[in-house]
Amino acid sequence: MSTFRTMLKTELKLSLRGMDMFIFAICMPLIVLVILGIIYEDNPAFHGADYTFLQQSFGALVTISILAGGVMGLPLVISEYRSKKILKRFKVTPVTPVMILFVQLVIYALYAVASLLLLYLVAVLFFNFQLVGSWFYFLGGYFLVMLSIFSIGMMVGGLAPNTKTASVLAILLYFPMLIFSGATLPYEVMPEALQRVADIMPMTQGIKLIKVASLGMEMDHVLLPIMVMAIVAVICTVLSIKFFKWE
């Protein structure tokens, strides 16, 4: 079997044995969806809106697992493998850093997609949800957010000198983006000042993009979020591969 398939199979098993990603990337977004669904049922997002609150939030909820995998899972697993000197052992084999990073990237992408499918099914079956926008634009935005958030995580995991720094950075990235980017707490209910601050985070830009696509709104004002996401993705990916440290 190829290096990629064997590593993917094994690393996926190891990750599932760890349980934490199952909780943070699969269970948590589902719980938030169920709570919002129970509270808002199929009420409109605001008085006179032609879409429901849940439709407005769906685009945000699907990013929770991207965030959990990208800025918690990825950097922690990479820095753990470094501090446990597993990467040092890999260095005296022919495996490449790109392969090691890519396998982890695919694992967290699988978690995110599993979460997306689960959220969609539950929303449709239990909360009368419909994705009114274009699936094509929705998935385009979704994978762009994934790319840019994952690249941030790869960079942190690749460059953090030790596990402690990696976990501090992971927490500093994870919680503010989880709470203030609109992923859990809806952006629309935030006071304007907080919205301004939230706008700085790449995740907020990404969620705006997915929301516009999922609600089928006009595609103006999306150039900025797209540019921000793409630039972050390119810079972080290049840095993480160029400055990859085995030890």
């Binding site: 290096t3 398939r5 260095k91 005296v92 084999t93 022919p94």
Partner: protein, 245 residues
């Protein structure tokens, strides 16, 4: 130095925080030889191995293994070289079989890991977590991992530490048969019976400096003793008295 040299180290030096750990070390090892790097704890053995493999960067000097530079030609070189580090490094919840499968997947040409596990007496442990193995079993597993690529050269850092007498003899037997097939072995060991049994050539390090390079017989002949263990201690502790005067 001849074309036959599989490992070549020239003027290798390395310091940590200004303290020299390896001083101007030069070695050459021929194909099919078993070479032992000896010295007390802290003499610089592991650092030497790591500088040779490229997991640490030497301050100066040159290393070639199978004619390749471990820094610049890492991918090609480690298709043909197996390594067992002094400490075992593995993922927390990985099983013996999974670790072997992943290791096997890195290489183009491999030996059957099940056969190797059987040879080393740990086949029945293949479904266990690596963390559940005893120290000796884990040691043998990491020798198996080093042998999976059917290497031309293998580095074994403290190969039988933690093994019981029976298991050590078994490991010696396997290594001797691999050597007959042309495997070059670079090892470190604290057991002088093992060194006498296996090594064609040795180098004794004291504080990062080579104090002897040759065969076990030459070492004994060059000392006032007729047992190798005494010779070794004499080389590693010589001048010790002077230091404290």
């Amino acid at each position: 130095m001849s074309m036959q040299d599989v490992i070549r180290v020239e003027h290798l030096s390395k310091s940590f925080n200004g303290l020299p750990v390896i001083r101007n070390l030069s070695l050459s090892i021929k194909r099919g030889a078993v070479f032992g790097l000896l010295g007390a704890n802290g003499a610089g053995k592991s650092t030497t191995i790591e500088c040779m493999l490229g997991t640490k960067k030497a301050d100066s000097g040159r290393v070639t293994i199978l004619g390749k530079n471990p820094w610049k030609e890492r991918k090609q070189l480690f298709q043909r070289v197996g390594v067992q580090f002094q400490e075992a490094h593995y993922q927390e919840k990985i099983t013996v079989q999974e670790l072997c499968e992943v290791t096997q997947s890195f290489y183009k040409k491999t030996d059957n890991y099940k056969k190797l596990l059987e040879q080393f007496g740990i086949f029945e442990k293949r479904k266990n977590f690596v963390s559940e193995l005893s120290g000796g079993q884990r040691q043998r597993l990491f020798i198996v991992l080093a042998l999976i690529p059917q290497p031309e050269v293998v580095f074994l850092d403290e190969l039988t530490t933690g093994l019981d007498a029976r298991a050590r003899r078994d490991v010696w037997k396997i290594l001797t048969s691999l050597k007959k097939k042309g495997l070059t072995i670079f090892l470190t060991s604290h057991f002088m019976d093992e060194v006498e049994n296996l090594c064609d050539g040795i180098c004794i390090l004291r504080k990062g400096q080579m104090v002897f390079h040759g065969t076990v017989e030459d070492a004994i002949a060059s000392s006032p003793f007729d047992k190798f263990e005494d010779t070794y201690l004499w080389y590693t502790e010589e001048e010790m008295g002077n230091e404290y005067l």
